[in-house]
Point group: C2
Chain length 347, copies 2
Amino acid sequence: MKNASKAPQPGRRASIKDVAARAGVSTATVSHVFSGKKHVNEALEKRVRAAARELDYSVDRVASRLRSGKAKVIAVMVPDLEDLFLSRFVSRIEAQAEDSGFEVILSCSRNDPELERTRLRAMLAWRPTGLVFVPCHEELPMEVFRDHPDLPIIGADRVNPSLTPFDTVTVDNYGSGWTAADNLILKGAKKILMLSSITEIATIRERIRGARERIERERDVELQVLAVGSEPTRGAEKLTEWFGEHGLPDAVISLTNVMTLAALATFAQIGIEAPDDLLLIGYHDSLWMTARKVPITTVSLPIDDVARAVWQRLESRVAGDSSPNRNTVLSTTLIERDTTLGRRPSR
Amino acid sequence: MKNASKAPQPGRRASIKDVAARAGVSTATVSHVFSGKKHVNEALEKRVRAAARELDYSVDRVASRLRSGKAKVIAVMVPDLEDLFLSRFVSRIEAQAEDSGFEVILSCSRNDPELERTRLRAMLAWRPTGLVFVPCHEELPMEVFRDHPDLPIIGADRVNPSLTPFDTVTVDNYGSGWTAADNLILKGAKKILMLSSITEIATIRERIRGARERIERERDVELQVLAVGSEPTRGAEKLTEWFGEHGLPDAVISLTNVMTLAALATFAQIGIEAPDDLLLIGYHDSLWMTARKVPITTVSLPIDDVARAVWQRLESRVAGDSSPNRNTVLSTTLIERDTTLGRRPSR
DNA sequence: GGTAACGAATTAAACGTTTAACTGTCAATC
DNA sequence: GATTGACAGTTAAACGTTTAATTCGTTACC
């Protein structure tokens, strides 16, 4: 008879008590073995581990978190997981979190403030260590945060730093619009069209504002903005329509990836081509933009840097940093490719 | 003096006890108010809610889960979150989960079996209700699953149904390869090149096997396979090299999205074009493939259906369905566009 | 008026851990 | 050979909920 084997109830999972009983030690010792917080005799440790294996025991993090109050979990809330920027952002945050030993709980508000509120509430009920939050609306769900006064929160991307009572990391959308417009103006564009899905998103509005303020410095340049919804084929139709009414502009700035596709589809359909017939700048650089006969000039957003900065800030807050909120703004890069080249010699 | 207000400790979060004390009721009543499992007098309920609001109380799901044993949480493990298929898959699963009131914890193995093992262990320590698992390797981490014998698991996509002791939902990769090859053969292709990043992934191998078996039925058609790694520019170089050595094939089947980009980059660089100089079929239909002058023929993978089937299976398992494991295989669609058109009349 | 039946609220025992406080044991120090 | 300290292990009390069992009061019924 080698073990004081008290078999656990048939259906139940083995708990620390079962392991302790089987190994003939106290539950405290078992806990010490698995948490490594106190040294235990080698022979004992072996016995404990053996017992655990035989019972298919594994620590229940829920109980552990309840008692100790500590758990390495961060919550991530984004408005749209299909968005290229956001899905990559989530991927990066996830990687950093895991490398630092954090678990990730994920939620998506699908651009619905009401959903955002309820899902946020549900996530935070798990008492995560921190929250990475990309809001879907300027109106933040403050009552939810009020219920969690000590929760470190880092806002990212679609956030208005000046309205946000926590750290933020954003991209210089204003500057990117300015730069794009500036580039086109220098190439002699007089009539510029900005193409967006919707203009309700803060980041998009900033891009437009940047371009507009640059253009206001010129007397003979005009800026138009066309919002066509997020459906690319429908967008292409609307753009065609617009071209019919207003004539071809000198340049198009498409404010999202999908809008660039809509623009290209339109161009192909009505038989015009950048840079011969107009100039084109897209937003959010992506592999397919370079693998074409005429690679596309784009504004590249520093996703990886945003993720890094967010994580860094979060780790520092979690570690107890209580300095005033900081707004980190990262700048974009205009990657100049063929669609903004000077007109090519021969057509 | 309207309330027996016993203020909670300064730093501490308010617990159910604090709320109970402040509202002058028992903790059970507070619990009933928030869980809705038992009716409580309207006036009392009001008092409880008021007290909760004043104390910024919200239920601690961790404690609740510990006591009740129930929690609606599902774990999701995928090998790569930047992959278009997988990130969309995760998005869909997440949406379905949330709609059914489940929380999602997410982890990414980054194609590393060791990471997969440890992260899986960490996730499952939270005792989720179910697991959606896209493995990174044929060798499944069975010991981890052994520790959680009652956990419903659904394997998806990169999984070999015949080696898997749980439900699976996969795509008919074999059939897709067969169909693609068949299509090209009917158009007279004699020399077909399959372009992949790596051939270690089960799904990729199946696609190749499908094409190979179709081609073996012909006496005068040959199939070559070229693996060029997952870096697109490096891939383009290798492909150029290959063209130099072996001459142009009649058709290229690029087995991933990124490989399609590598192929297009190569074509652009050496000045050839589909379908004039060779035919091209890509995998994984994506918006940018249609918004070109010559839209690309692709094998479309039914991601949304996969996600739906996975979720359906999971819900049924969670509900107690103990029927034998089922392997669901969804078929792909070849969307024929311009890159496999018969040679165009004029060049 | 007595009792049965019911509903609403309370009591107190869990759930599976961690951990402060405690008990031995053994070796080192004077 | 007492005293001290260090170390290894145990005891038992939490952590914040849920919930079975219980109490109490009210109403309904004969």
